[in-house]
């Protein structure tokens, strides 16, 4: 679409790109992590975080400090930054930001529906919803009993509406159907996001498309791994795989037939990008899990996104890197609060 982005990009988006690069410089460094790992209590963690970009974000928290509170406050801070970017953005960056929030919206919808299965009050769940995925119709989600209900009554006006094409059914929403709905919505969302980036072309497509391809393949692998030993049939499993990745179409067919981890590994061995990842997975309970390996790869790709200028990928990459940082801090905090320090260094350093 807009070839030669270096001529036009800064007119509309230069300020925000500069801002996000400044924010990226505020991510925790290796030294920060070393300091955090040496903390004895969560109060120490709070004190150490005050010296970083986080500042006094925990100042208003009542005692006792819990890991959940730290996580909630970190999310709020990320949301404030994101909303600032979003409010100052112009098209097509605004649509890009909307696409980014859709994944959090899907997570919130599923959280609300699962909560209603467990007879939780809507207020209780709304407090724990991801702030980036907030939308006005959220409170009405729990009244829906089938996916068609959910679409027609609640979500038809939201950005999630186009992703409901494959999900419409009259099945009652129990745990299995909610899980299927979750994955199908996410699959449609990812494919739509991929198409948007590809149509935009230019550097954005060059950076975002490989990232989204990796996300699609990662979903396929993780869904397969977690489905071993469950009631999910192979045919159902295949309908959940996003098709915008490198595995499409042969890899996905093979993956749908896999019955254990080794068969999955053999599928991955056909792809030069994924073979080294699977080789890095440690056996048993000692080494890295597949999720860890995938998170590392995601961090690598996101850090590399900052090497190019004049594209929207920096915003996506910054948000994802910030999320990894939050995961790291929560992990370290949990190890400290449970006094189980053997694996405290399993975080993924970013800078």
């Amino acid at each position: 679409m807009l070839e030669g982005a270096e001529f036009y990009f800064n007119v509309d988006h230069g300020y925000l790109e500069g801002l996000v690069r400044g924010c990226k410089a505020g991510l925790l460094t290796q030294q920060d992590y070393i300091n955090l790992v040496q903390c004895e209590t969560l109060e120490d963690v709070k004190i150490h975080l005050q010296t970083t970009d986080y500042g006094n974000f925990l100042a208003n928290q009542t005692n006792p400090l819990t890991v959940s509170k730290i996580d909630t406050e970190m999310r709020k801070k990320l949301c404030r930054e994101f909303e600032y970017f979003r409010n100052h953005s112009l098209e097509p960056l605004s649509t890009f930001f909307t696409y980014m929030t859709c994944s959090y919206m899907i997570d919130n919808v599923i959280l609300l529906m699962n909560g209603s299965l467990q007879k939780k009050s809507v207020k209780e769940i709304l407090v724990k919803c991801h702030p980036l995925g907030r939308f006005t119709e959220m409170e009405a989600v729990n009244i829906a009993e089938t996916p068609s209900d959910l679409f027609n009554a609640v979500l038809v006006e939201t950005p999630l509406a186009p992703f409901f094409q494959d999900c419409m059914s009259e099945n009652i929403l129990d745990e299995l159907n909610i899980e299927l709905l979750h994955n199908k919505l996410y699959k449609s969302y990812l494919e739509a996001f991929y198409k948007f980036c590809k149509n935009h072309g230019d550097v954005t497509a060059e950076i975002m498309c490989p990232i989204l391809e990796f996300e699609a393949d990662r979903r396929a692998f993780i869904i397969t791994l977690n489905s071993f030993g469950t009631e999910l049939s192979k045919e159902d499993r295949e309908t959940l795989y996003p098709t915008c990745g490198k595995l499409y179409p042969e890899g996905l067919c093979l993956l749908a037939q896999a019955e254990d981890f080794d068969q999955m590994r053999r599928v991955a061995d056909h792809y030069g990008v994924y073979k080294p990842l699977f080789d890095a997975v440690g056996g048993g309970s000692g080494g890295k899990t597949l999720e860890d390996v995938f998170y590392e790869r995601e961090v690598q790709m996101n850090v590399l996104a900052f090497n190019r200028q004049f594209h929207y990928g920096v915003f996506y990459a910054y948000t994802k890197l910030k999320e990894q940082e939050m995961r790291n801090i929560v992990w370290i905090a949990e190890c400290i609060s449970q006094r189980h320090r053997t694996k405290i260094n399993s975080y993924i350093p970013i800078l």
Partner: protein, 180 residues
Amino acid sequence: MAAPDLRAEVDSLLLQLLQDLEELEAKRAALNSRVEEGWFSLSKARYAMGAKSVGPLQYASRMEPQVCVYISEAQDGLQKFWLVRPSAQTPEEVGPREAALRRRKGLTGTPEPESFPALQDPLNWFGILVPHSLRQAQASFREGLQLAADMASLQIRIDWGRSQLRGLQEKLKQLEPESA
């Protein structure tokens, strides 16, 4: 009772008591490590799934127990603790079964013919496709449960053993001055 017999009995009781104590300590250490592993696996699951996906939002405030404790009395009057699964309701009890279905599905439709509400695996509260760490957590906690029941039985035995021992030692003291 003659003193030597009594002494032999005291000895064997003491040995049994010490053995039980050792077993209790071993089981306690195992329980602690299982519970610790369980909580740690939950943290790993939170890392993989998201911090709010494994927490108080996912379980109801009222739960049906998966495992019940059943107390039986052995011949020597000692109580033993067993872990049992509460048996599923028989099909003739239509009333409570319908109510249970209605609570779960929220519909006044016909109850499904194939299965009555089988005990739900709590793992499914977190979704169908859960990571391996969550399954590991469940396994650790289950093992811990079995250990807890064993420990309770052992503790009752130890208490009984101690009271027996005290009784026998009293008797011995009474006999000693006589034979002295």
